[in-house]
């Protein structure tokens, strides 16, 4: 039966990636009639007036067709008499580098297009570098647009020399250069008559015949995906064999514990087998009960690291920049571990390969970092065992896949891994708490239900796993602000201090709830400025005066009416209504729990 080759096409914008693949499918009669029809139709509507635009076969998203560019990876499938192929056509724009990397992580071989009239560009180097980083070993440089340079042999040889130099620089293993014209079809599926001086195969023939070597990693490795326990009599460990071979009766070791056991029985899918090999989805039974759960790794005849620190090369993919001290969820094989970037050692200049000192890393940049894991984890160098050396880092708030990386080497505690020049800031502290710090500013009349509501909201947030702090009259007026009275000046100072404290607590990563009458607009505006607009949520508890006075829980309204309390808000001191509160709620209409749930629901927008 036929083998499968997964490859990608990459290179700079307008080097003709989509056109090349489109032409290959078209020439090799690998299109369905309706696809061909849609293609001709789209070409007519599009900008190239009638001539077939092969790239339209692959640019599938509306935004791509509108802008005439490739944004995301497209996968295409075709089969020739010799082989089955999956090709990932990747975007050339720098902005979409991460989507290009997605394609690269999936492929065995990369076809990198080079515009013969322009030569090797920064983006060519970037893509070659990322392909190598993601573990691709086979490269074809398709020197495209040969028709535009009159199929000139000398220019081709000159470019080939540059590519050899680049290959040495990037340590690329197997490299082939083929002169092609994607629009004209030279050397795409058949050897071109325009370039008799080229004695190699056409691109398609080369892809059909190239030998992609089998896995040469040492020993048996199987990360455990899950434990299968349909009933008391059966206990099996399920996972995919990543390398090597194991048979019934042989001894295996389970990491991280290091416990050993003999293999009692094996399933490949649902078939009983004696031996399992690389690539199989298996279930393994052992001769005795040992503690194995998801994330453990079964090995034989090889050693992996069980440690909590390593140095890795990252491709940063998030819009948010990377700084030291940031905390992530790291996924490696079947393990998920909280991890911290301890040190950015340097970033790699995509063009020159030079190591550049850096304090922060931006989207699409490559950096070498020291990473500390929250617990002992099983891993290896990417060069030794791919699956045990590749990982992603997930932002704990947005859940975005912020980075992918490959492990260069393990580190020991004695390697003196300390916080370097890092200053912990709000972002780093709050990332550890997995939340966005903010201040929920409850305002309203005395007796409106601010404190009860803030209390109930805090309980819900706490149950959700948030870290919170409630500031109200009881814990602020009696301590920090006990020297302040109720005159307008003192009220302003009271609010200013509360705002400053709330801000400090936000910096500590906490979600702060404040419950104060805060009757003056100017004070609330001041508080918002201190705390920061993006962290300030004004919640107006709008229970009407009559209701508050009716409740009069503390008997304050009665006293105020009698004139015993001067400057009592609502009676003999004004309450200035909020004009645009972020959330408004009249506690008169709800039970307190309902009101709290409503507030939390409204908060979803900000959390």
């Amino acid at each position: 039966m036929k083998s499968l080759l997964k490859f990608i096409t990459c290179g700079s914008v307008d080097d003709g990636k989509s056109t090349l693949i489109g032409h290959m499918l078209y020439d090799a009669k690998l299109l369905f009639a309706d696809q061909e029809q849609a293609l001709k139709l789209d070409s007519k509507i599009g900008s190239r007036n009638g001539a077939i635009d092969y790239s339209l076969l692959l640019d599938g998203l509306m935004a791509e067709r509108e802008q005439g560019i490739t944004i995301d990876v497209a996968y295409r499938y075709f089969t020739t008499d010799k082989r089955s192929f999956i090709v990932a056509d990747t975007p050339g724009h720098e902005e979409y580098t991460r989507n290009m990397a997605v394609g690269a992580s999936f492929a065995d071989l990369a076809v990198i297009l080079v515009d013969a009239s322009l030569g090797i560009l920064v983006q060519t180097r970037r893509h070659a570098r990322i392909c190598a980083l993601m573990g691709i070993r086979h490269f074809v440089f398709a020197i495209n647009k040969m028709d535009l340079i009159n199929y000139d042999k000398e220019k081709f040889l000159c470019l080939e020399k540059d590519i050899r130099k680049l290959s040495v620089e990037l340590n690329l293993e197997k490299v082939k250069c083929i002169p092609v014209s994607a629009t004209e079809g030279d050397n795409v599926t058949e050897k071109s008559e325009n370039m008799p001086w080229y004695d190699g195969e056409s691109l398609l023939n080369y892809l059909e015949n190239i030998d992609i070597e089998t896995n040469d990693e040492v020993g048996f490795v199987m990360p455990v995906q899950r434990v299968c326990r349909p009933d008391r009599t059966f206990r099996g460990y399920q996972g995919e064999v990543e390398s090597g071979i194991v048979s019934v009766g042989e001894e295996i070791t389970v990491l991280p514990s290091g416990e050993k056991a003999l293999v009692r029985a094996l399933l490949n899918g649902d078939s009983k087998v004696d031996t399992i090999i690389s690539g199989m989805p298996v279930t393994m039974q052992l001769d005795r009960e040992i503690d194995i759960s998801r994330g453990c790794v079964v090995v034989k005849g090889t050693e992996l690291h069980v440690s909590s620190m390593f140095t890795a090369t990252l491709l940063w993919m998030d819009d948010k920049k990377l700084v030291e001290g940031r905390n992530f969820l790291l996924k490696l094989a079947t393990q998920r571990v909280p991890a911290t970037i301890m040190k950015i050692k340097y970033k790699v200049d995509v063009n020159s390969g030079n190591h550049v000192p850096a304090r922060s890393i931006f989207k699409n940049e490559i950096a070498v970092c020291d990473i500390a894991l929250a617990k002992k984890t099983v891993f290896d160098k990417f060069a030794s065992h791919r699956v045990m050396g590749e990982f992603i880092m997930i932002d704990r708030i947005s859940n975005m896949t912020s980075a992918c990386g490959v492990i260069d080497h393990s580190l020991r505690r004695s390697d003196n891994l300390t916080w370097q020049k890092t200053d912990l800031d709000r972002e780093i502290r709050s990332a550890k708490m997995n939340q966005k710090p903010m201040t929920l500013w409850f305002t309203g009349l005395s007796g409106a239900g601010k404190s009860s509501l803030a209390n109930a909201v805090e309980k819900i947030l706490s149950v959700r796993g948030n870290y919170t702090m409630l500031l109200d009259g009881d814990n602020v007026r009696l301590g920090l602000n006990k020297n302040l009275g109720f005159e307008e000046d003192d009220r302003a100072e009271n609010i200013r201090r509360i705002a400053e404290v709330a801000k400090l607590m936000n910096d500590a990563g906490l979600i702060v709830l404040t419950s104060f009458i805060s009757p003056y607009k100017s004070d609330r505006r001041n508080a918002k400025e201190i705390i920061g607009e993006e962290s300030f949520v004004e919640i107006y508890v709008s229970t009407p005066l009559e209701e508050c006075e009716k409740r009069d829980v503390k008997g304050l309204y009665k006293k105020a009416r009698k004139g015993d309390i001067p400057n009592f808000t609502g009676i003999n001191s004004p309450y200035e209504l909020p004009e645009n509160p972020d959330i408004a709620i009249d506690t008169n209409n709800f039970a307190i729990e309902e009101a709290a749930e409503y507030v939390v629901k409204e908060l979803e927008r900000y959390l």
């Binding site: 089998t214 399920q238 690389s278 690539g279």
Partner: protein
Amino acid sequence: MSNAMNYLDVLESEAIYIMREVVSECEKPVMLYSIGKDSSVMLHLALKAFYPEKPPFPFLHVNTTWKFREMIEFRDKRAHDLGIEMLEYINEDGVRQGINPFDHGAAYTDIMKTQALKQALDKYGFTAAFGGGRRDEEKSRAKERIFSFRDSSHGWDPKSQRPEMWKCYNTEIKKGESTRVFPISNWTENDIWQYIRRENIPIVPLYFAAMRPVVEREGNLIMVDDDRMRLLPGEKPQMKMVRFRTLGCYPLSGGVESNATTIDQVIEETLSATESERTSRVIDKDGGASSMEKRKREGYF
């Protein structure tokens, strides 16, 4: 990959790996089951992936009430024989309003399929739904990740898909959000048929040619499956040797004339086919090349 693995083994292994990851990391998974051949392959893969355990999640069939009768029979028999949990969801609101494929066109698909699916996922609170979508089916599918992230209203944002690296799948979601997972993304129609043959997977008999009552409409052969079928003036059902390349609602599924009554004959026809399979599904023609992407943004599977 070892030499001993051919391309079907590679595809099978990838799908099983993905299914096991979802069950291990997602809170409440479900497998969408449409009764078609892709669903038959998905079910078969699920049986293999967790063997000897039964698939540790329920299956969900969103029924538009216009499916071929043979499909429903097949579904019930499979669920019974295998002892798996098969949920059925019908948008009763749509039924009450009398929504049907003859009068309501695109609105029918939206109400009885897209809306029904969203309602069903919300009703049970599923956080991850396996689907049998393949990237070779259509251009916007060709761009979708295996783990496709949906916001709380089930919408797909094609411009901000999470990068999907190697086999490190990011399954993290927030409350209210969900994931659609496509374990057979990398399979082609031909792979599906080859695998059905190799593994001897039961499929609905409608995939094989038989004499069936059909009418011809706009180049499609539509089967008259029950008396709800509205015949146009002058239309008269004729008996023809017909088989179906894709199955769905019978008034929207175009059959092809064929004599392929065995799996080998079907594969031979498929290999020499000059039209991709979605052309025989009538609904995709509305709105041109981008119609699928539009529907997906709104929550279509």
